[in-house]
């Protein structure tokens, strides 16, 4: 994907609440059929952006163009889009069937036809048939999620919006539902636009990811691009645990890290500033028996180790930093807490980012 026609064009969209600029001049094209995720911390404006796209909020400036038509003034109930809300917003006084059929009922579809469609959708989202007459309040968290999905799908929208629907679900079920959601995307072929504060979640599901910070869309790319070439320190740290070393470019093309009092070799890419951060992922760090085994090395002492299922994580105190090293279980470091260790990484595994 990525070369199809845009189904949705966002052109310089802005939203102002009083003095607060919640969304600041965001432009973005969404390709027909892609799974696009917007990631950002709370307050970054991602929900406001989504609400403007769904028609629940009017933009203060800019245009929303859906299949070539400006839809700024088209209200949510007239847009061929549908939103799955963070709270799911299920109609608690209704049954599963009534929830799913809601949009069809609003369109005046007959009762018999509605039921046929609802049954189909329940099958799509893997809800048992006998749930049709069950009250939604009697469903479990995962089941409610499925009802919300089926209800949104029932209106056969061009684009499905998701406003962090998995955020309140426990870890294991969430992992499971992420996979299901991605499968559902494949089965339906619809355009999905998802927002979350978890880059990990975005990585699993998305074709492309956009990162928002303080109302700006700062980076857009495939999960791989974002993972390997984060735009700045914010993006790299947002991706999870990374080692971020503050460095200053010195005359010989090396980087001086004052905190570690070390000269480090860094990527040759041209930077526009002399100061920046070297970002090294924990799994690119390794324990060395000799400093020459890697392009860079740092001496430190093993502070603690953490078993994380298939991996083991180590915290190594070096200078003012607590560096993170991650190894597969079968390659675990053989040693004790408080050992003096040498850890290192290769230049190709590091990225230089700006502030």
């Amino acid at each position: 994907m990525g070369d199809g026609a845009p189904i949705l064009e966002i052109k310089g969209i802005t939203k102002q609440f009083g003095k607060l600029l919640a969304v600041n001049n965001v432009s973005l094209d969404i390709v027909d059929g892609e799974f696009f995720t917007i990631v950002g911390p709370s307050g970054s404006g991602k929900t406001t952006l989504l609400r403007m796209l769904a028609g629940l909020e009017k933009p203060s400036g800019g245009d929303v163009v859906l299949r070539g038509n400006v839809v700024n003034d088209v209200p949510a109930n007239k847009r061929p889009t549908c939103m799955v809300f963070q709270s799911l917003a299920l109609f608690n006084h209704r049954t599963v069937g009534q929830n799913i059929e809601f949009s069809l009922k609003m369109r005046g579809v007959s009762r018999a036809e509605r039921k046929v469609r609802a049954m189909e959708l329940m099958k799509t989202v893997r809800l048992p048939e006998d749930y049709y007459a069950k009250g939604v309040t009697k469903c479990s968290g995962g089941e409610r999620q499925r009802v919300a999905l089926a209800r949104a799908l029932a209106s056969d929208p061009d684009i499905m919006f998701f406003d962090e629907p998995l955020s309140a679900i426990d870890y294991q079920l969430r992992k499971h539902l992420e996979v299901e959601l991605k499968d559902l995307h494949r089965e339906t072929g619809k355009t999905f636009m998802y927002i979350t504060h978890s880059l990990e979640e975005a990585m699993v599901m998305s074709d492309r990811i956009g990162i928002m910070q303080a109302g700006h869309l700062i980076q857009v790319g495939t999960p791989d691009e974002i993972y390997s070439r984060p735009l700045n320190k914010f993006v790299s740290e947002f991706m999870g645990e990374v080692n971020t070393l503050g460095v200053k470019r010195s005359a010989d093309g090396k980087f001086e890290c004052a905190e570690l009092s070390a000269q480090l070799a860094g990527p040759a890419q041209a930077g526009n500033s002399d100061t920046g951060y070297l970002v090294i992922r924990p799994e690119s760090m390794r324990f060395l028996s000799d400093p020459s085994e890697a392009d860079n090395h740092v001496k430190g002492s093993l502070f603690n180790e953490y078993a994380m299922g298939s991996r083991v994580q180590y915290h190594v105190r070096a200078g003012g930093y607590m560096l993170v090293v991650e190894k597969l279980r079968e390659q675990a470091y053989q040693g004790k807490i408080d050992d003096d260790v040498i850890i290192g990484w290769d230049v190709k595994d590091s990225v230089l980012v700006s502030d």
Binding site: A54, A76, A89, F91, F102, S103, R151
Partner: protein, 269 residues
């Protein structure tokens, strides 16, 4: 040792509960007992039982008229208070608007006003603008006090209502009216029901406001009070007993309805 303590504490809880229940229900029982005694004044234990006060009360043609007046007033108050309270509660708890805090305080005021003073004030005002004291005027008087209470009762339901349900319905293609009819109203229905119940009962049992404003129309509570002060007869507890019987019948019917509905739901599922 521990089980002995537990047994003791259980026994004490039972005794305490029993005493509280007795304290609540003994007065009601006393009303019924005194309505069934033959003698003119309440004596316990009752020496001779008799239904003559029932006969007299029914023959006096009072029961029907008094209860109908009370019923009219209470039903009108409940209906109007729920409508006012519903929209009032939306303004109170659902929407954020300029002056909401002031409105929230203002609406509480009538509740804190002593009812006797409120009744007098309303009567003076009715006289001034030329409204005759009748049961209809009493409906208005009751509303001044009851509508704010109903507003608060419904507000509790509104506070617990997830507003995004309305947005979801709108997003799913419903128009504003459909959102209201299909989502907001049914979701708030339990609150509306308890609001109506509150309004009805508060109006039904109200004396202070009625006594100033009903004029020639008399409610059950007014009649009871007037009779008490002008000369006791066992017709008073008899009238009270009728109200108790009415409540028991209504409760019983409600219970049967509830069971029937549960059966029906179980059959459908």
């Amino acid at each position: 040792m521990e089980s002995k303590v537990k047994r003791w504490s259980n026994a004490l809880i039972c005794v305490w509960t029993g005493i509280v229940l007795l304290f609540f229900f003994l007065p009601i029982a006393a009303v019924i007992i005194s309505s069934l005694g033959k003698s003119r004044y309440f004596r316990f234990p009752v020496k001779t039982w008799s239904g003559k006060w029932y006969e007299q009360t029914i023959n006096a043609n009072l029961t029907e008229n008094l209860h109908i007046t009370s019923l009219y007033v209470a039903a009108c108050v409940a209906a109007i208070a729920v409508v006012l309270g519903f929209f009032g509660a939306l303004a109170f708890a659902r929407y954020d608007w300029k002056g909401r805090i002031f409105y929230q305080r203002l609406i509480m005021l009538p509740i804190f006003f002593p009812q006797a003073v409120l009744g007098l004030a309303l009567l003076l005002w009715f006289t001034y603008i030329g409204v005759l004291p009748t049961w209809e005027a009493a409906v208005f008087a009751h509303l001044v006090w009851i509508a704010p209470i109903v507003t608060l009762v419904i507000s509790i339901q509104v506070y617990g209502f997830d507003v995004s349900q309305e947005e979801a319905a709108y997003d799913l293609g419903a128009n504003r009216f459909q959102v209201f009819w299909e989502v907001t109203l049914p979701a708030l229905a339990p609150g509306l029901f308890s609001g109506a119940l509150f309004a009805f009962l508060l109006s039904w049992g109200n004396f202070s406001l009625s006594t100033y404003t009903t004029g020639a129309d008399s409610t059950v509570t007014e009649w009871l009070y007037t009779k008490m002060s002008s000369g006791y007869t066992p017709m008073i507890p008899t009238m009270g007993a009728f109200s108790v019987y009415g409540s028991v019948i209504i409760l019983f019917l409600g219970y049967i309805f509830l069971i029937a509905q549960r059966r029906r739901a179980a059959k459908r599922a």
